[in-house]
Protein backbone atom coordinates (compact mmCIF):
# COMPACT_ATOMS: atom_id res chain seq x y z
CA UNK A 1 0.00 0.00 0.00
CA UNK A 2 1.41 3.37 -1.01
CA UNK A 3 0.61 5.84 1.76
CA UNK A 4 3.01 8.67 1.06
CA UNK A 5 4.08 8.35 -2.59
CA UNK A 6 5.58 11.60 -3.73
CA UNK A 7 3.01 13.58 -1.79
CA UNK A 8 4.85 16.30 0.10
CA UNK A 9 1.77 17.21 2.13
CA UNK A 10 1.43 13.68 3.44
CA UNK A 11 5.14 13.55 4.27
CA UNK A 12 5.11 17.01 5.84
CA UNK A 13 2.13 15.95 7.93
CA UNK A 14 4.35 13.47 9.78
CA UNK A 15 6.24 16.34 11.39
CA UNK A 16 4.32 18.64 13.73
CA UNK A 17 5.83 21.51 15.70
CA UNK A 18 6.82 19.29 18.63
CA UNK A 19 5.78 15.78 17.64
CA UNK A 20 6.60 13.34 14.88
CA UNK A 21 4.52 10.46 13.62
CA UNK A 22 5.96 7.01 14.30
CA UNK A 23 5.93 6.18 10.59
CA UNK A 24 9.18 8.14 10.23
CA UNK A 25 10.85 5.31 12.19
CA UNK A 26 8.90 2.21 11.23
CA UNK A 27 7.38 2.60 7.77
CA UNK A 28 9.46 0.94 4.98
CA UNK A 29 7.93 3.29 2.40
CA UNK A 30 9.21 6.30 4.31
CA UNK A 31 12.63 4.67 4.43
CA UNK A 32 12.56 4.17 0.65
CA UNK A 33 11.62 7.83 0.21
CA UNK A 34 14.50 8.85 2.46
CA UNK A 35 16.89 6.91 0.26
CA UNK A 36 15.39 8.42 -2.87
CA UNK A 37 15.05 12.01 -1.70
CA UNK A 38 16.49 12.90 1.71
CA UNK A 39 19.95 11.40 1.22
CA UNK A 40 20.50 12.59 -2.38
CA UNK A 41 19.31 16.12 -1.43
CA UNK A 42 21.63 16.36 1.59
CA UNK A 43 25.40 16.67 1.91
CA UNK A 44 26.66 13.27 3.03
CA UNK A 45 30.02 12.42 4.55
CA UNK A 46 32.00 10.07 2.30
CA UNK A 47 35.42 9.83 3.96
CA UNK A 48 38.61 11.65 4.87
CA UNK A 49 41.26 12.81 2.42
CA UNK A 50 44.01 11.15 4.53
CA UNK A 51 42.50 7.85 3.37
CA UNK A 52 43.45 8.93 -0.16
CA UNK A 53 47.04 9.86 0.50
CA UNK A 54 48.60 8.67 -2.80
CA UNK A 55 47.50 8.72 -6.42
CA UNK A 56 45.39 5.63 -7.11
CA UNK A 57 44.14 5.36 -3.50
CA UNK A 58 40.41 4.75 -3.28
CA UNK A 59 37.70 4.33 -0.67
CA UNK A 60 34.20 2.99 -1.09
CA UNK A 61 31.07 4.14 0.71
CA UNK A 62 27.31 4.28 0.36
CA UNK A 63 25.23 7.42 0.02
CA UNK A 64 21.83 6.28 1.14
CA UNK A 65 21.94 2.86 -0.48
CA UNK A 66 23.90 3.88 -3.56
CA UNK A 67 27.50 2.61 -3.64
CA UNK A 68 30.12 5.20 -4.49
CA UNK A 69 33.89 5.20 -4.86
CA UNK A 70 36.23 8.13 -4.19
CA UNK A 71 39.69 8.19 -5.73
CA UNK A 72 42.86 10.27 -5.75
CA UNK A 73 43.80 11.11 -9.34
CA UNK A 74 47.37 11.46 -10.65
CA UNK A 75 47.09 15.28 -10.51
CA UNK A 76 46.20 15.11 -6.80
CA UNK A 77 42.51 15.89 -7.24
CA UNK A 78 39.80 13.83 -5.53
CA UNK A 79 36.96 12.40 -7.63
CA UNK A 80 33.76 10.64 -6.70
CA UNK A 81 31.84 8.16 -8.87
CA UNK A 82 28.96 5.79 -8.62
CA UNK A 83 30.57 2.44 -7.97
CA UNK A 84 29.44 0.55 -11.08
CA UNK A 85 30.97 -0.26 -14.41
CA UNK A 86 29.07 1.57 -17.19
CA UNK A 87 28.95 -1.74 -19.08
CA UNK A 88 27.02 -4.26 -16.95
CA UNK A 89 26.86 -2.57 -13.57
CA UNK A 90 29.58 -4.54 -11.77
CA UNK A 91 31.10 -2.68 -8.81
CA UNK A 92 34.57 -1.66 -9.88
CA UNK A 93 35.87 -1.48 -6.30
CA UNK A 94 34.78 -4.00 -3.71
CA UNK A 95 37.00 -3.30 -0.73
CA UNK A 96 36.59 -0.51 1.83
CA UNK A 97 39.90 0.99 0.70
CA UNK A 98 42.95 0.24 -1.41
CA UNK A 99 45.18 1.41 -4.22
CA UNK A 100 44.10 0.72 -7.79
CA UNK A 101 47.34 1.85 -9.45
CA UNK A 102 47.01 4.02 -12.56
CA UNK A 103 43.50 2.88 -13.45
CA UNK A 104 40.38 1.00 -12.32
CA UNK A 105 39.85 -2.21 -14.25
CA UNK A 106 36.45 -3.90 -14.19
CA UNK A 107 37.02 -7.55 -13.25
CA UNK A 108 34.21 -8.76 -15.57
CA UNK A 109 35.21 -7.62 -19.12
CA UNK A 110 38.34 -5.55 -18.42
CA UNK A 111 36.91 -2.17 -19.26
CA UNK A 112 39.32 0.27 -17.67
CA UNK A 113 39.01 3.81 -16.35
CA UNK A 114 41.45 6.50 -15.35
CA UNK A 115 41.35 7.56 -11.70
CA UNK A 116 39.36 10.64 -12.76
CA UNK A 117 36.68 8.22 -14.02
CA UNK A 118 37.16 8.72 -17.76
CA UNK A 119 37.10 5.70 -20.01
CA UNK A 120 40.62 4.45 -20.72
CA UNK A 121 40.20 1.30 -22.78
CA UNK A 122 37.83 -1.49 -23.79
CA UNK A 123 39.14 -4.81 -25.19
CA UNK A 124 38.21 -5.36 -28.84
CA UNK A 125 37.12 -1.73 -29.05
CA UNK A 126 36.51 -1.97 -32.76
CA UNK A 127 33.42 -4.04 -32.00
CA UNK A 128 31.80 -0.77 -30.91
CA UNK A 129 32.70 1.18 -34.06
CA UNK A 130 29.66 2.45 -35.90
CA UNK A 131 27.32 1.16 -33.14
CA UNK A 132 26.49 4.57 -31.69
CA UNK A 133 28.54 3.75 -28.58
CA UNK A 134 30.10 7.21 -28.49
CA UNK A 135 26.63 8.66 -27.91
CA UNK A 136 25.94 6.48 -24.85
CA UNK A 137 26.57 7.21 -21.17
CA UNK A 138 29.05 4.33 -21.14
CA UNK A 139 31.40 6.30 -23.37
CA UNK A 140 31.77 8.88 -20.58
CA UNK A 141 33.26 6.27 -18.27
CA UNK A 142 32.30 6.04 -14.61
CA UNK A 143 29.31 8.22 -13.75
CA UNK A 144 30.63 11.14 -11.78
CA UNK A 145 29.13 12.86 -8.79
CA UNK A 146 29.81 16.52 -9.45
CA UNK A 147 28.85 18.06 -6.15
CA UNK A 148 31.81 17.10 -4.02
CA UNK A 149 33.46 19.38 -1.48
CA UNK A 150 36.60 18.57 0.49
CA UNK A 151 36.42 20.76 3.59
CA UNK A 152 39.58 20.61 5.70
CA UNK A 153 40.05 17.05 4.38
CA UNK A 154 36.46 15.97 5.13
CA UNK A 155 34.88 14.75 1.90
CA UNK A 156 31.17 15.51 1.50
CA UNK A 157 28.95 14.92 -1.51
CA UNK A 158 25.44 15.73 -2.66
CA UNK A 159 24.08 13.33 -5.26
CA UNK A 160 21.36 15.67 -6.54
CA UNK A 161 22.48 17.89 -9.37
CA UNK A 162 20.49 20.74 -7.85
CA UNK A 163 19.95 21.72 -4.25
CA UNK A 164 21.45 23.72 -1.40
CA UNK A 165 25.15 24.57 -1.84
CA UNK A 166 27.73 23.28 0.62
CA UNK A 167 28.39 26.60 2.39
CA UNK A 168 24.70 27.38 2.77
CA UNK A 169 23.93 23.84 3.87
CA UNK A 170 26.47 23.69 6.72
CA UNK A 171 27.11 27.37 7.47
CA UNK A 172 28.56 28.01 10.93
CA UNK A 173 28.22 24.37 11.95
CA UNK A 174 31.58 23.74 10.26
CA UNK A 175 33.14 25.34 13.33
CA UNK A 176 33.12 21.95 15.08
CA UNK A 177 35.16 20.37 12.28
CA UNK A 178 37.44 23.42 12.40
CA UNK A 179 37.96 22.95 16.13
CA UNK A 180 38.76 19.26 15.73
CA UNK A 181 41.34 19.95 13.00
CA UNK A 182 42.81 22.92 14.89
CA UNK A 183 43.49 20.62 17.84
CA UNK A 184 46.39 19.20 15.83
CA UNK A 185 49.52 21.35 16.25
CA UNK A 186 49.98 20.89 12.50
CA UNK A 187 46.33 21.59 11.67
CA UNK A 188 45.96 18.13 10.22
CA UNK A 189 44.07 14.93 11.00
CA UNK A 190 44.80 11.42 9.81
CA UNK A 191 42.78 8.23 9.63
CA UNK A 192 45.27 5.49 10.46
CA UNK A 193 42.98 2.57 11.33
CA UNK A 194 39.66 0.96 10.56
CA UNK A 195 36.51 2.16 12.35
CA UNK A 196 34.62 0.26 15.02
CA UNK A 197 31.49 -1.12 13.40
CA UNK A 198 28.32 -1.86 15.33
CA UNK A 199 25.04 -3.11 13.85
CA UNK A 200 21.89 -1.60 15.32
CA UNK A 201 18.45 -3.10 14.85
CA UNK A 202 16.67 0.24 14.85
CA UNK A 203 15.95 3.19 12.62
CA UNK A 204 18.94 5.44 11.91
CA UNK A 205 17.19 8.58 13.20
CA UNK A 206 16.93 7.19 16.73
CA UNK A 207 20.71 7.20 16.88
CA UNK A 208 20.98 10.71 15.48
CA UNK A 209 18.43 12.08 17.98
CA UNK A 210 20.18 10.41 20.87
CA UNK A 211 23.34 12.44 20.19
CA UNK A 212 21.72 15.58 21.60
CA UNK A 213 19.47 13.84 24.12
CA UNK A 214 20.91 15.05 27.42
CA UNK A 215 18.13 13.68 29.61
CA UNK A 216 19.02 10.03 29.02
CA UNK A 217 22.64 9.54 30.19
CA UNK A 218 21.99 9.66 33.94
CA UNK A 219 19.06 7.29 33.46
CA UNK A 220 19.95 4.81 30.71
CA UNK A 221 23.68 4.77 31.59
CA UNK A 222 23.29 4.42 35.34
CA UNK A 223 24.00 0.74 34.71
CA UNK A 224 27.35 1.34 33.03
CA UNK A 225 28.72 4.75 34.05
CA UNK A 226 27.08 4.54 37.47
CA UNK A 227 28.64 1.12 38.09
CA UNK A 228 32.05 2.37 36.90
CA UNK A 229 31.93 5.16 39.49
CA UNK A 230 30.75 2.79 42.23
CA UNK A 231 33.45 0.18 41.55
CA UNK A 232 36.17 2.84 41.39
CA UNK A 233 35.07 4.43 44.68
CA UNK A 234 35.27 1.03 46.32
CA UNK A 235 38.55 -0.11 44.74
CA UNK A 236 40.59 3.08 44.50
CA UNK A 237 42.34 2.65 47.85
CA UNK A 238 45.02 5.31 48.25
CA UNK A 239 45.21 6.05 44.55
CA UNK A 240 45.35 9.80 43.94
CA UNK A 241 44.91 9.78 40.20
CA UNK A 242 41.59 8.87 38.56
CA UNK A 243 42.32 6.40 35.77
CA UNK A 244 41.60 7.50 32.21
CA UNK A 245 38.81 4.92 32.01
CA UNK A 246 36.93 6.38 35.00
CA UNK A 247 37.49 9.92 33.66
CA UNK A 248 35.76 8.86 30.44
CA UNK A 249 32.81 6.98 32.00
CA UNK A 250 32.20 9.18 35.05
CA UNK A 251 30.78 12.37 33.45
CA UNK A 252 27.92 10.40 31.88
CA UNK A 253 26.36 10.47 35.35
CA UNK A 254 26.39 14.28 35.54
CA UNK A 255 23.07 15.61 36.93
CA UNK A 256 20.38 17.38 34.89
CA UNK A 257 21.64 20.76 36.17
CA UNK A 258 24.99 20.14 34.51
CA UNK A 259 23.43 19.53 31.11
CA UNK A 260 20.96 22.43 31.56
CA UNK A 261 23.73 24.99 31.98
CA UNK A 262 26.07 23.49 29.40
CA UNK A 263 23.59 24.43 26.67
CA UNK A 264 22.69 23.42 23.13
CA UNK A 265 23.36 25.42 19.98
CA UNK A 266 21.19 24.91 16.92
CA UNK A 267 21.95 25.90 13.35
CA UNK A 268 19.86 25.99 10.16
CA UNK A 269 19.33 22.80 8.11
CA UNK A 270 19.14 20.47 11.08
CA UNK A 271 22.64 20.84 12.50
CA UNK A 272 23.30 21.44 16.18
CA UNK A 273 25.47 20.54 19.16
CA UNK A 274 25.39 19.91 22.87
CA UNK A 275 28.01 21.28 25.27
CA UNK A 276 28.20 25.01 24.51
CA UNK A 277 29.55 26.37 27.83
CA UNK A 278 31.30 23.14 28.81
CA UNK A 279 30.73 19.42 28.37
CA UNK A 280 31.39 15.92 29.64
CA UNK A 281 34.78 16.20 27.90
CA UNK A 282 35.87 19.32 29.83
CA UNK A 283 37.70 17.79 32.77
CA UNK A 284 40.01 15.22 31.25
CA UNK A 285 43.59 15.31 32.52
CA UNK A 286 46.11 17.40 30.63
CA UNK A 287 48.42 15.36 28.46
CA UNK A 288 52.08 16.11 28.96
CA UNK A 289 53.68 18.22 26.28
CA UNK A 290 50.49 18.87 24.31
CA UNK A 291 49.70 22.40 25.50
CA UNK A 292 53.30 23.42 24.83
CA UNK A 293 53.03 22.13 21.25
CA UNK A 294 49.76 23.99 20.74
CA UNK A 295 51.14 27.26 22.14
CA UNK A 296 54.21 26.93 19.92
CA UNK A 297 52.00 26.35 16.88
CA UNK A 298 49.23 28.88 17.50
CA UNK A 299 50.40 31.29 20.19
CA UNK A 300 49.15 31.47 23.78
CA UNK A 301 45.79 33.09 23.12
CA UNK A 302 44.70 31.07 20.12
CA UNK A 303 45.87 27.76 21.64
CA UNK A 304 43.69 28.37 24.71
CA UNK A 305 40.75 29.36 22.52
CA UNK A 306 41.01 26.10 20.58
CA UNK A 307 41.39 23.89 23.65
CA UNK A 308 38.75 25.84 25.58
CA UNK A 309 36.08 24.87 23.05
CA UNK A 310 35.00 21.43 24.31
CA UNK A 311 31.75 20.80 22.52
CA UNK A 312 30.05 17.53 23.30
CA UNK A 313 28.21 16.07 20.25
CA UNK A 314 27.75 17.94 16.98
CA UNK A 315 25.11 16.52 14.66
CA UNK A 316 25.68 17.23 10.99
CA UNK A 317 22.31 16.55 9.46
CA UNK A 318 21.34 14.01 8.36
CA UNK A 319 23.54 11.22 9.66
CA UNK A 320 26.92 11.97 11.23
CA UNK A 321 28.04 13.14 14.64
CA UNK A 322 31.42 14.72 15.38
CA UNK A 323 33.21 14.98 18.72
CA UNK A 324 35.96 17.53 18.26
CA UNK A 325 37.37 17.15 21.75
CA UNK A 326 38.01 13.40 21.35
CA UNK A 327 38.44 13.31 17.55
CA UNK A 328 35.63 10.88 16.78
CA UNK A 329 33.13 10.82 13.93
CA UNK A 330 30.16 8.47 14.05
CA UNK A 331 28.50 7.64 10.78
CA UNK A 332 24.92 6.33 11.11
CA UNK A 333 24.54 4.41 7.88
CA UNK A 334 20.96 3.44 7.02
CA UNK A 335 20.58 -0.17 5.88
CA UNK A 336 16.83 -0.72 6.29
CA UNK A 337 13.97 0.93 8.16
CA UNK A 338 14.95 -1.04 11.27
CA UNK A 339 18.66 -1.60 10.62
CA UNK A 340 21.54 0.87 10.94
CA UNK A 341 25.26 0.28 10.63
CA UNK A 342 27.23 2.59 12.90
CA UNK A 343 30.85 3.20 11.91
CA UNK A 344 32.81 5.12 14.54
CA UNK A 345 36.05 6.62 13.23
CA UNK A 346 38.93 8.02 15.26
CA UNK A 347 41.21 10.66 13.76
CA UNK A 348 44.78 11.02 14.87
CA UNK A 349 45.86 14.60 15.64
CA UNK A 350 48.98 14.84 13.48
CA UNK A 351 51.94 15.97 15.54
CA UNK A 352 50.21 15.56 18.92
CA UNK A 353 51.35 13.12 21.66
CA UNK A 354 50.35 9.43 21.34
CA UNK A 355 48.41 9.71 24.58
CA UNK A 356 45.67 11.76 22.89
CA UNK A 357 45.18 9.08 20.28
CA UNK A 358 45.21 6.42 23.00
CA UNK A 359 42.44 8.29 24.83
CA UNK A 360 40.34 8.73 21.69
CA UNK A 361 40.65 5.01 20.86
CA UNK A 362 39.72 4.15 24.44
CA UNK A 363 36.67 6.40 24.34
CA UNK A 364 35.62 4.81 21.06
CA UNK A 365 35.78 1.26 22.39
CA UNK A 366 34.13 2.21 25.70
CA UNK A 367 31.19 3.99 24.11
CA UNK A 368 30.82 2.97 20.46
CA UNK A 369 31.72 -0.72 20.18
CA UNK A 370 29.47 -3.79 20.06
CA UNK A 371 31.33 -4.76 23.25
CA UNK A 372 30.66 -1.37 24.89
CA UNK A 373 28.51 -1.39 28.02
CA UNK A 374 27.34 2.16 27.24
CA UNK A 375 26.42 0.99 23.74
CA UNK A 376 24.45 -1.91 25.24
CA UNK A 377 22.43 0.54 27.33
CA UNK A 378 21.56 2.66 24.29
CA UNK A 379 20.83 -0.12 21.83
CA UNK A 380 18.41 -1.68 24.32
CA UNK A 381 16.44 1.58 24.32
CA UNK A 382 16.43 1.88 20.51
CA UNK A 383 15.31 -1.74 20.07
CA UNK A 384 12.52 -1.30 22.58
CA UNK A 385 11.41 1.88 20.79
CA UNK A 386 11.49 0.14 17.41
CA UNK A 387 9.15 -2.49 18.86
CA UNK A 388 7.03 -0.12 20.95
CA UNK A 389 6.35 2.21 18.04
CA UNK A 390 4.38 -0.55 16.33
CA UNK A 391 1.54 0.04 18.78
CA UNK A 392 -1.46 2.00 17.52
CA UNK A 393 -2.58 3.40 20.88
CA UNK A 394 -0.53 6.55 20.42
CA UNK A 395 1.15 7.08 17.06
CA UNK A 396 3.14 10.20 17.98
CA UNK A 397 6.61 10.66 19.43
CA UNK A 398 6.74 13.57 21.85
CA UNK A 399 9.52 16.17 21.37
CA UNK A 400 8.00 18.95 23.44
CA UNK A 401 10.63 19.54 26.16
CA UNK A 402 11.19 23.32 26.44
CA UNK A 403 9.11 24.00 23.36
CA UNK A 404 8.01 27.59 22.90
CA UNK A 405 5.15 28.37 20.60
CA UNK A 406 6.22 30.23 17.50
CA UNK A 407 9.67 28.66 17.62
CA UNK A 408 11.49 29.66 14.45
CA UNK A 409 13.07 27.06 12.23
CA UNK A 410 16.35 27.39 10.36
CA UNK A 411 17.90 29.81 12.84
CA UNK A 412 21.01 29.88 14.98
CA UNK A 413 20.29 29.94 18.72
CA UNK A 414 21.78 28.87 22.04
CA UNK A 415 19.28 27.32 24.41
CA UNK A 416 18.92 25.35 27.63
CA UNK A 417 20.91 22.13 27.32
CA UNK A 418 18.01 19.84 28.20
CA UNK A 419 15.83 21.17 25.40
CA UNK A 420 14.61 18.82 22.68
CA UNK A 421 14.82 21.67 20.22
CA UNK A 422 17.70 20.13 18.26
CA UNK A 423 15.48 17.11 17.60
CA UNK A 424 12.73 19.46 16.40
CA UNK A 425 15.37 21.22 14.30
CA UNK A 426 16.36 17.90 12.72
CA UNK A 427 12.79 16.99 11.86
CA UNK A 428 12.13 20.38 10.31
CA UNK A 429 15.17 19.75 8.09
CA UNK A 430 13.99 16.21 7.49
CA UNK A 431 10.67 17.38 6.02
CA UNK A 432 12.46 20.04 4.00
CA UNK A 433 15.10 17.77 2.42
CA UNK A 434 12.63 14.90 1.93
CA UNK A 435 10.32 17.02 -0.17
CA UNK A 436 12.45 19.77 -1.76
CA UNK A 437 12.61 17.97 -5.11
CA UNK A 438 8.93 17.03 -5.10
CA UNK A 439 6.36 19.09 -6.96
CA UNK A 440 5.14 20.99 -3.91
CA UNK A 441 7.86 20.98 -1.26
CA UNK A 442 6.88 21.43 2.37
CA UNK A 443 8.38 24.91 2.70
CA UNK A 444 6.31 26.17 -0.25
CA UNK A 445 3.18 24.48 1.00
CA UNK A 446 3.29 26.26 4.37
Amino acid sequence: MVKYGKNPRAIGGLVRDAEVHRDVYVDPEIFDLEMEHLFPNSWIYVGHASQLAKAGDFITANIGRQPVVASRHTDGSIHLFYNRCPHKGVKIASEPCGNTGKFFRCPYHAWSFKTDGSLLAIPLKKGYEGTGFTDTKANDGLSRIRNVVVYRDFIFARLSETGVGFEDYFGESLSTIDNMVDRSPEGKLAVVATPIRYMHTCNWKMLVENQTDTCHPMVAHESSAGTAIKVWQREQGDSKETPMAVQLYGPFMSPYEFYEQSGIRIWPNGHGHTGVANSIHSNYSDIEGYLGQMVAAYGEKRAHEILGEVRHNTVYFPNIMVKGAVQILRNFIPIAVDRTLVESWVYRLVGAPDKLYERALMYNRFINAPTSIVGHDDLEMYERAQEGLKTNGNQWVNLRRLYESGEEADVTAVINGTSERQMRNQFHAWAKFMTMDMVEPVEAAE
Binding site: A193, T194, P195, I196, R197, Y198, M199, H200, T201, A220, E222, S223, S224, G226, T227, A228, K230, V231, W232, E235, P243, A245, V246, Y249, L341, V342, E343, V346, D354, Y357, E358, L361, N364, R365, A369, P370, T371, I373, G375, H376, D377, L379, E380, M381, R384
Partner: protein, 158 residues
Protein backbone atom coordinates in the same frame (compact mmCIF):
# COMPACT_ATOMS: atom_id res chain seq x y z
CA UNK B 1 55.08 -28.87 38.71
CA UNK B 2 53.11 -27.27 35.90
CA UNK B 3 52.67 -29.59 32.94
CA UNK B 4 51.00 -29.26 29.58
CA UNK B 5 47.95 -30.91 31.10
CA UNK B 6 47.82 -28.26 33.83
CA UNK B 7 47.58 -25.62 31.09
CA UNK B 8 44.92 -27.51 29.15
CA UNK B 9 42.86 -28.05 32.30
CA UNK B 10 43.18 -24.38 33.11
CA UNK B 11 41.82 -23.35 29.69
CA UNK B 12 38.84 -25.71 30.07
CA UNK B 13 38.15 -24.50 33.60
CA UNK B 14 38.27 -20.88 32.54
CA UNK B 15 35.66 -21.41 29.81
CA UNK B 16 33.52 -23.45 32.16
CA UNK B 17 33.46 -20.66 34.77
CA UNK B 18 32.22 -18.26 32.08
CA UNK B 19 29.55 -20.68 30.86
CA UNK B 20 28.32 -21.25 34.42
CA UNK B 21 28.59 -17.52 35.23
CA UNK B 22 30.82 -17.99 38.24
CA UNK B 23 32.12 -14.48 37.78
CA UNK B 24 34.12 -14.09 40.98
CA UNK B 25 35.88 -17.43 40.48
CA UNK B 26 36.62 -16.36 36.89
CA UNK B 27 38.09 -13.02 37.99
CA UNK B 28 40.22 -14.88 40.52
CA UNK B 29 41.98 -16.61 37.62
CA UNK B 30 43.54 -13.29 36.58
CA UNK B 31 46.89 -11.94 37.73
CA UNK B 32 46.43 -8.47 39.34
CA UNK B 33 48.00 -6.97 36.20
CA UNK B 34 46.02 -9.28 33.89
CA UNK B 35 44.28 -8.06 30.76
CA UNK B 36 41.45 -9.24 28.54
CA UNK B 37 41.98 -8.20 24.92
CA UNK B 38 39.86 -8.42 21.76
CA UNK B 39 41.81 -6.89 18.86
CA UNK B 40 40.11 -5.26 15.89
CA UNK B 41 42.88 -5.92 13.38
CA UNK B 42 44.51 -8.96 11.82
CA UNK B 43 47.57 -10.12 13.79
CA UNK B 44 47.38 -6.92 15.81
CA UNK B 45 50.45 -6.06 17.86
CA UNK B 46 49.45 -3.01 19.88
CA UNK B 47 46.38 -2.92 22.15
CA UNK B 48 46.74 0.78 22.97
CA UNK B 49 47.59 2.65 19.76
CA UNK B 50 45.61 0.39 17.47
CA UNK B 51 41.82 0.07 17.83
CA UNK B 52 40.45 -2.86 19.83
CA UNK B 53 36.98 -4.08 20.69
CA UNK B 54 38.07 -4.62 24.29
CA UNK B 55 41.25 -4.09 26.28
CA UNK B 56 40.33 -4.33 29.92
CA UNK B 57 42.10 -4.51 33.23
CA UNK B 58 40.58 -6.00 36.37
CA UNK B 59 38.81 -2.75 37.26
CA UNK B 60 36.99 -2.67 33.93
CA UNK B 61 36.18 -6.38 34.06
CA UNK B 62 34.67 -5.89 37.53
CA UNK B 63 32.56 -2.98 36.22
CA UNK B 64 31.32 -5.17 33.39
CA UNK B 65 30.46 -8.03 35.73
CA UNK B 66 28.76 -5.89 38.39
CA UNK B 67 26.75 -4.18 35.67
CA UNK B 68 25.35 -7.53 34.52
CA UNK B 69 23.59 -7.92 37.87
CA UNK B 70 22.47 -4.28 38.20
CA UNK B 71 18.84 -3.50 39.02
CA UNK B 72 18.78 -0.92 36.22
CA UNK B 73 20.74 -2.87 33.63
CA UNK B 74 17.96 -3.03 31.09
CA UNK B 75 20.02 -4.74 28.40
CA UNK B 76 20.14 -7.74 30.77
CA UNK B 77 16.39 -8.04 31.06
CA UNK B 78 16.21 -10.85 30.00
CA UNK B 79 19.72 -12.04 30.87
CA UNK B 80 22.34 -13.26 28.40
CA UNK B 81 23.86 -16.73 28.57
CA UNK B 82 26.89 -18.15 26.80
CA UNK B 83 28.49 -21.38 25.64
CA UNK B 84 32.09 -22.08 24.73
CA UNK B 85 32.89 -24.98 22.42
CA UNK B 86 36.66 -25.48 22.52
CA UNK B 87 39.05 -27.47 20.40
CA UNK B 88 41.86 -29.14 22.40
CA UNK B 89 44.25 -26.32 23.35
CA UNK B 90 47.50 -26.17 21.45
CA UNK B 91 50.38 -25.67 23.89
CA UNK B 92 52.50 -22.85 22.54
CA UNK B 93 54.94 -22.75 25.48
CA UNK B 94 55.35 -24.73 28.69
CA UNK B 95 58.61 -23.68 30.29
CA UNK B 96 58.48 -23.82 34.11
CA UNK B 97 62.10 -22.68 34.39
CA UNK B 98 61.38 -19.49 32.46
CA UNK B 99 57.86 -19.18 33.89
CA UNK B 100 56.29 -19.08 30.41
CA UNK B 101 53.04 -20.89 29.76
CA UNK B 102 51.03 -20.22 26.62
CA UNK B 103 48.15 -21.90 24.85
CA UNK B 104 46.08 -21.19 21.76
CA UNK B 105 42.61 -22.62 21.51
CA UNK B 106 40.22 -22.60 18.59
CA UNK B 107 36.63 -21.95 19.67
CA UNK B 108 33.04 -21.45 18.68
CA UNK B 109 31.27 -19.13 21.07
CA UNK B 110 27.53 -18.73 21.40
CA UNK B 111 25.82 -15.85 23.16
CA UNK B 112 22.08 -15.86 23.56
CA UNK B 113 19.51 -13.53 25.01
CA UNK B 114 15.76 -13.85 24.77
CA UNK B 115 14.97 -15.27 21.36
CA UNK B 116 18.23 -14.24 19.72
CA UNK B 117 21.34 -16.38 19.37
CA UNK B 118 24.67 -15.26 17.89
CA UNK B 119 27.69 -17.42 17.03
CA UNK B 120 31.30 -16.33 16.81
CA UNK B 121 34.41 -18.24 15.74
CA UNK B 122 38.00 -17.52 16.56
CA UNK B 123 41.06 -18.31 18.65
CA UNK B 124 41.66 -17.71 22.34
CA UNK B 125 45.27 -17.17 23.38
CA UNK B 126 46.19 -17.62 27.03
CA UNK B 127 49.35 -16.07 28.35
CA UNK B 128 49.77 -17.50 31.87
CA UNK B 129 52.13 -17.00 34.78
CA UNK B 130 52.78 -19.09 37.86
CA UNK B 131 51.78 -17.54 41.19
CA UNK B 132 52.54 -19.93 44.05
CA UNK B 133 51.19 -23.28 42.93
CA UNK B 134 48.63 -21.78 40.59
CA UNK B 135 48.50 -20.40 37.08
CA UNK B 136 47.12 -16.90 36.61
CA UNK B 137 46.09 -15.11 33.41
CA UNK B 138 48.46 -12.39 32.31
CA UNK B 139 46.64 -11.93 29.02
CA UNK B 140 43.60 -13.55 27.49
CA UNK B 141 43.39 -12.59 23.85
CA UNK B 142 40.40 -13.25 21.60
CA UNK B 143 40.97 -13.09 17.85
CA UNK B 144 37.69 -13.43 16.00
CA UNK B 145 37.87 -14.75 12.45
CA UNK B 146 35.67 -11.81 11.36
CA UNK B 147 36.99 -9.23 13.84
CA UNK B 148 36.05 -6.30 11.58
CA UNK B 149 32.45 -7.31 10.87
CA UNK B 150 29.63 -5.18 12.31
CA UNK B 151 28.30 -7.14 15.27
CA UNK B 152 25.28 -6.50 17.42
CA UNK B 153 25.67 -6.55 21.19
CA UNK B 154 28.33 -8.80 22.71
CA UNK B 155 27.61 -8.55 26.42
CA UNK B 156 29.56 -11.43 27.99
CA UNK B 157 33.18 -12.63 27.75
CA UNK B 158 34.39 -14.96 24.99
Amino acid sequence: MISEKTITDFVYLEADLLDTMQWQAWLDLFHPEGRYWMPLEWQQQDPVLQPSLMYEDLLLMKVRIERLAGERTFSQKPKSRCHHLLQAPQIVACDPAAGIFKARTSFIYTETRGDTLERFSGWASHDLVQVGDDLKIRLKRIDLVNFDAPFGNIQLFM
